[in-house]
């Protein structure tokens, strides 16, 4: 060989050896006739040991010859059929018995007659890349699992046109929409028409300016129900930092609102109670003087009859005020109930006969009792609970002057509470009155002190229970009371 050719050959080999890819040249039968340093280092054999060996002998550590032949044939057929580089993956076990995943690029080399002269193989070690891909896939899956496990929040993303492009977490259970129904639909489907027109543009404007905005508002489920949420809206940015959409995270606060409302009502009641107790005390003093003086006057036997009669009327009215104050102070005072073990079914049964004493049209009212058979016992004061039930039964009967049905149901509501529902088919309560129903001195009746329900409320609260009301005008009202039952071991 002449020196130039020799030098060229050496240089070529140097270039091949410096390459960071595996280079192999195979004859048409797959036999290795050339290779570079990379493969030598990987398999721990020098080129002389590799020349003359079938390529699949170093590639495939499966000793099954048939499989190897099939693999080679598939590779070859692929390469020849398309007469262009064919890419596929295989693995090599190196001299340290570590497996490497190689991305092979096979180029068929054709002679002048267009026949296959050989195959040039370039192999890229993508082991690390594959490991990273697997790791990222795992992180992805973990992230998706985390997101889909969070049911209390709903995440959805819209593009600049307002169409929903992605959702996760509790979206489906919160809104009732399935992916196929909602994807690429407009986000307006989740908002009231008013909010869509007025609030949403302002929200997005805030987010564009400040990056983030949070507010309370109402959203709409697929079935049309409106529910309260805390909505957090963020910019969705691309790699260059341009806004390409908006990310919404919604938390359904229906239950929290209910609880907040109950606490607020409770605190309002307590404040009113305290104020009124103070007032009641202030009234008691002058009333005491009025009554006392009247009694002393009435004690004068020489009083003319007409004057005596007038003073008696004044005394009666003073008495009336005194009873009212007394009842009110009972309501306002937080007395700890006695701690007896009580069967609610028995208390209700004992109380029902007293309805007839209250001059109610109870003969026109059909009373239905649906009592749970094994109702757990509750801790409480039987007298106070009797007062609660008698008040509620009286209210129910008074709502049905023409007669109707009074349905009393007791249930072990599962978990911790005994649940009692008292339903009537009376005139129902105007929705605007529902908020004030348990407030002291609130009454929808022309007679009555307006204290009955507020006393019930206080007694129930003192027993660590809850009371709610559902009503429809013209259809009837249901009061639902829950008391915690005595757990085993208590």
């Amino acid at each position: 060989m002449d020196p130039i050719s020799q030098a060229t050959q050496i240089l070529n080999q140097k270039i091949l050896d410096e390459a960071n890819v595996i280079m192999l040249y195979l004859d048409p039968h797959g036999i290795i006739s050339m290779c570079n340093k990379k493969i030598e280092e990987m398999v721990g054999k020098n080129r002389r040991e590799l020349f003359g060996k079938h390529w699949l002998d170093i590639l495939c550590h499966d000793s099954n010859v048939v499989i190897k032949q099939q693999m080679f044939k598939a590779v070859l057929d692929g390469a020849i059929a398309y007469k262009r580089p064919n890419i596929f993956e295989g693995s090599i076990v190196d001299c340290n018995k570590k497996e490497h995943i190689i991305s092979w690029n096979i180029t068929p080399m054709l002679n002048e007659s267009d026949d296959l002269a050989g195959l040039l193989l370039l192999g890229n070690d993508v082991t690390l890349l594959k490991e990273r891909e697997a790791s990222l896939k795992k992180i992805d899956e973990t992230l998706l699992n985390i997101l889909s496990s969070i049911k209390e929040y709903s995440l959805y993303v819209i593009n600049l046109e307002g169409n929903i492009t992605y959702y996760e977490m509790g979206f489906e259970s919160m809104f009732g929409w399935l992916k196929s129904d909602i994807i690429f639909k407009h986000v307006g489907l989740l908002h009231t028409s008013d909010d869509l027109k007025h609030k949403l543009p302002l929200i997005l404007e805030q987010v564009r300016t400040n990056g983030h905005y949070e507010l309370r508002l109402s959203l709409v489920k697929k079935d049309g129900r409106i529910f309260p949420v805390i909505l957090s809206v963020n910019q969705f940015l691309d790699n260059e930092g341009s806004i390409i959409g908006y990310i919404f995270i919604a938390k359904d606060i229906t239950e929290e609102n209910k609880l907040e409302y109950q606490i607020f009502q409770s605190e309002k009641m307590a404040a009113v109670g305290k104020l009124a107790a103070g007032m009641a005390h202030e009234i008691n003093n002058p009333l005491f003087v009025i009554s006392g003086r009247l009694q002393m006057l009435l004690g004068n036997k020489k009083l003319p009859k007409g004057l005596r009669d007038d003073l008696k009327i004044i005394d009666n009215q003073a008495d009336r005020i005194r009873n009212l104050i007394d009842r009110f102070l009972t309501f306002a005072r937080k007395t700890s109930p006695n701690e007896e073990r009580l069967d609610v079914n028995k208390i209700i049964t004992n109380v029902l006969p007293f309805l007839s004493y209250h001059k109610l049209p109870s003969h026109k009212i059909r009373i239905t009792k649906d009592f749970a058979k094994k109702l757990p016992l509750i801790k409480g004061d039987s007298h106070q609970l009797q007062e609660v039930f008698i008040n509620l039964f009286i209210n129910a009967c008074q709502a049905m002057p023409e007669g109707g049905r009074l349905i009393i149901k007791t249930v072990n509501s599962g978990g911790e509470f005994v649940r009692i529902s008292i339903s009537d088919t009376g005139h129902g309560i105007d929705p605007k009155n529902l908020n004030n129903l348990f407030m002291p001195f609130f009454s929808t009746k022309s007679e009555g002190t307006g204290l009955g329900l507020s006393i019930c409320y206080n007694i129930i609260k003192n027993h660590h229970g809850f009371i709610e009301v559902e009503s429809q005008v013209g259809k009837g009202t249901t009061f639902i009371i829950k008391f915690p039952f005595i757990k085993k071991g208590e």
């Binding site: 202030e282 003093n285 005491f288 003087v289 009554s291 006392g292 009694q295 007394d326 102070l329």
Partner: protein, 127 residues
């Protein structure tokens, strides 16, 4: 039975009313407006019983009760109140040694008979 009663209430019409009521029943009455005046009266004069309002200006009724009982453990002190029957007040008053508890929301005849019964009971206990 009648004797000498000290009436303690911060309202003049109430004091006057109780005054007249008790005098009609044959009692001798001195009335004062504050706990401080009550303590001074108890120090300097003899009384068969004290009728003491729970709510006073200055030192409270309960504080006055405590101080009277400290000075004169055998003194009959009956609490009277516009708060009506209050578990907590009654318990505290009992702990401090009061002999009874009357609500201003009771009728006058009830107040008088309760008052007389309480004084009688208390005196018998002391004997």
């Amino acid at each position: 039975m009648p004797g000498r009663i000290l009436v303690v209430d911060d309202e003049l019409p109430v004091r006057d009313m109780i005054n007249d009521l008790l005098k009609r029943e044959g009692f001798q009455v001195k009335s004062v407006a504050t706990g401080e005046e009550a303590l001074e009266a108890v120090d300097n004069e003899d009384f068969d019983a004290v009728l003491l309002d729970v709510k006073l200006t200055g030192i409270s009724g309960l504080e006055t009760l405590k101080k009277i009982k400290t000075k004169k453990p055998d003194m009959v002190v009956i609490m009277i109140t516009g708060f009506g029957y209050d578990d907590e007040l009654v318990t505290k008053s009992n702990e401090l040694g009061c002999s009874g508890y009357i609500g201003k929301n009771s009728s006058i005849s009830q107040i008088i008979s309760c008052f007389k019964a309480l004084i009688k009971d208390a005196k018998e206990k002391i004997k």
